[in-house]
């Protein structure tokens, strides 16, 4: 089969056009990008988890080839949106800086030998907001996964619904939930991996109705954004509020996993679903 898009993308990303150094926002350590990538974008000094590029995630997870799905679904500008910039400008900018066609990459691949329908959202594209393309790609993924009777694994990273697409974006909450419901009703197994940050319309739809919900260490997760809450209650929130660890204590999620253990954990969890539709 042809070289998957994401490989091509990775090549270009490893070129000199990409900054060679990154500074850890937590401990300030200056890290050589190549080594950081080899360390799964976890700071070797303080274990800070950098946000990851969707294709780096795919690369970190799938055994061999990844067959991408839904690439033909591309954003338009249904509301002819403009605020400080026009929506098309924003999209063009995000495409350039992220080398992604939209906020989620979906497709099929094997993780530890188990074929899965994989979706990975990328915060660097419109803050991972869910617009009609993200919603459509997720729906297509669940439908294809249902046809093939394979489990779904979706990595979320999202600021919520995409305002530049207005109510059409909000409706993706309904669409993705309907697709998940139909997928699960057929006896399939859905896993959500909440990564930093996941809020709003994504956490409040398909993400929190999966069979198993895991979160990456220290990821910020919730419904309302931290700022909104602080404005509402007019007081500062505790440091750990809305962290993965906080949610675990509150019973909202199944487990918190540090990135280095993430792939192996997924392989183990996926294995329990092997008999699901047998």
């Amino acid at each position: 089969m042809p070289i998957p898009d994401w490989l091509r993308v990775r090549r270009s990303k490893n070129d000199s056009d990409v900054a060679h150094w990154e500074k850890c926002p937590k401990c300030g350590e200056v890290l050589y990008r190549k080594e950081l990538a080899e360390n799964l974008f976890v700071c070797p000094r303080c274990t800070y988890h950098f946000r990851m590029h969707a294709f780096d995630r795919v690369h970190m997870l799938v055994d061999g080839d990844f067959v991408e799905l839904g690439t033909e679904i591309k954003p338009s500008d249904p509301l002819h949106w403009i605020d400080k910039r026009s929506y098309p400008e924003k999209l063009a900018g995000d495409r350039a800086k992220s080398s992604l066609s939209e906020g989620i990459v979906t497709g099929f691949g094997a993780i530890g030998g188990i074929e899965v329908a994989l979706g990975v959202m990328d915060f660097s594209f419109r803050g991972g907001t869910m617009g009609t393309v993200v919603g459509e790609r997720i729906a297509l993924l669940f439908e294809a996964a249902r046809d093939r009777a394979v489990p779904s694994v979706i990595f979320t990273a999202s600021g919520g619904a995409r305002m530049e697409e207005g109510m059409l974006a909000l409706m993706q909450m309904a669409k993705t939930t309907l697709a998940l419901e139909r997928f699960r009703e057929a006896g399939n197994y859905a896993i959500t991996v909440l990564t930093d940050p996941t809020t709003g319309g994504v956490s409040a739809s398909f993400a929190f109705q999966a069979d198993v919900i895991i979160a990456e260490a220290r990821a910020a997760i919730g419904f309302a954004g931290r700022r909104v809450i602080e404005q509402t209650i007019r007081q500062k929130l505790p440091e750990n509020f809305q962290t993965a660890e906080f949610l675990l204590e509150k019973g909202a999620i199944d487990m918190v996993v540090a990135r280095p253990e993430l792939r192996d954990t997924l392989v183990r969890l996926l294995d329990y679903g092997v008999g699901a539709r047998a």
């Binding site: 690439t71 033909e72 679904i73 591309k74 954003p75 338009s76 249904p78 509301l79 949106w81 403009i82 605020d83 400080k84 617009g131 009609t132 393309v133 919603g135 459509e136 729906a139 619904a161 305002m163 530049e164 697409e165 207005g166 109510m167 059409l168 974006a169 909000l170 409706m171 909450m173 309904a174 669409k175 939930t177 309907l178 697709a179 998940l180 419901e181 139909r182 809020t199 709003g200 319309g201 956490s203 409040a204 739809s205 398909f206 993400a207 929190f208 109705q209 997760i221 919730g222 419904f223 309302a224 909104v228 809450i229 509402t232 209650i233 509020f241 949610l247 509150k250 019973g251 909202a252």
Partner: protein, 326 residues
């Protein structure tokens, strides 16, 4: 200050003067009929001036009008209502009113968001912002309707889901998601009516439906104009512009296929004739139920799925065309 109420005060001024003249002409022989007629003409003109073409921003204010009929008013207008309380687990949330009811002789389960009218009620109802236990009550009632084979009619009017600490601690996201999931599953007809503010996900949790009815001057938005302006313009004062952009009016949403039916309001808004407005909304819901009741559950769920599946605004390169928006 509510923009609509401001304009209504101008009208009240006219009404006062017209009344005065009429008294006057009764007491004295002088014929003021001309002046009165003139004033009434100006009054009617102003009325149309103000209300014939409301801007999105004005509609936002209309949807928040202090006298606009609220969820409880609609529920009270049903033939019968037997309220059911609680999520069975934590607390009964007064921002959600739900239970068994009858509409046009048909047995239904109804669920409404209620903001509260006076200050005391507003506080008790948390201004119509449900907490997780409120959404869990909603989910429970949806499941009850599904079990008994009863149709569901909801009344949506909320600034949004409660954004407090406790709500986050009790998994607000999970609670809202569980309502969407239950509505996706329910093998019974679902009719939702947007009667005031349709505040984002907190509204959608009651509005994933086979038929969505929206009042002319209600709004239904991915975010409040104020919130959207603050985030995208970095300037909350840009709310009016945001309201324009968000396409949150009934005609916009009808065009997108998100709303299936728009109900006209009296000139000046629902609060000018609450009874008639409520009646119209309930009749529309009743008609929709009549139609949906004839559809077998399997097909009903299929078409519900297909309806939302279609809603979009992307380009499909493979089909080299843009998905139509209606």
């Amino acid at each position: 200050m509510n923009l609509i109420v401001e304009r209504e005060n101008e009208l009240l001024e006219f009404e006062r003067r017209i009344a005065e003249l009429k008294d006057h002409s009764r007491d004295q022989p002088v014929d003021l009929s001309h002046e009165i007629a003139a004033l009434e003409a100006k009054y009617a003109q102003l009325l149309h001036e103000i209300f014939d073409r409301l801007s999105p921003w004005q509609r936002v204010h209309m949807s928040r009008h202090p006298k606009r009929p609220l969820g409880a008013d609609y529920v009270a207008a049903l033939d019968v209502f037997d309220e059911l309380h609680g999520d069975r687990q934590f607390r009964d949330d007064p921002s959600i009113i739900g239970g068994f009811a009858k509409l046009g002789g048909r047995r239904i389960v109804t669920i409404a968001q209620e903001k509260g009218r006076d200050t005391k009620e507003k506080v008790r109802r948390n201004f119509g912002m449900p907490a997780p236990e409120g959404y869990r009550k909603v989910k429970r009632l949806i499941d009850l309707a599904a079990h008994l084979g009863l149709s569901i009619v909801t009344f949506v009017d909320t600034p949004g889901a409660d954004p407090g600490i406790g709500s986050e601690e009790r998994a607000q996201a999970e609670a809202i998601a569980s309502c969407l999931y239950a509505l996706a599953q329910a093998p019974v007809p679902i009719v939702s009516t947007i009667i005031g503010e349709g505040g984002s996900g907190g509204a959608l949790a009651l509005a994933l439906a086979d038929h969505v009815v929206m009042l002319e001057h209600s709004t239904y938005s991915v975010a409040s104009p104020e919130g959207c302006a603050a985030i995208l313009w970095g300037d909350a004062s840009k709310a009016e512009e945001a309201a324009e952009r968000l396409r949150l009016t009934s005609d916009d949403l009808r065009g997108f296929g998100i709303v299936d039916e728009v109900i006209a309001e009296p000139l000046g808004g629902a609060q000018r004739d609450p009874a008639a407005t409520i009646r119209r909304v309930l009749d529309a819901a009743g008609r929709a139920l009549d139609r949906l009741a004839a559809i077998p559950p399997r097909e009903l769920r299929e078409s519900r799925y297909a309806k939302y599946r279609r809603i979009g605004g992307w380009q499909d390169a493979s089909r080299s065309m843009t998905e139509s928006l209606s």
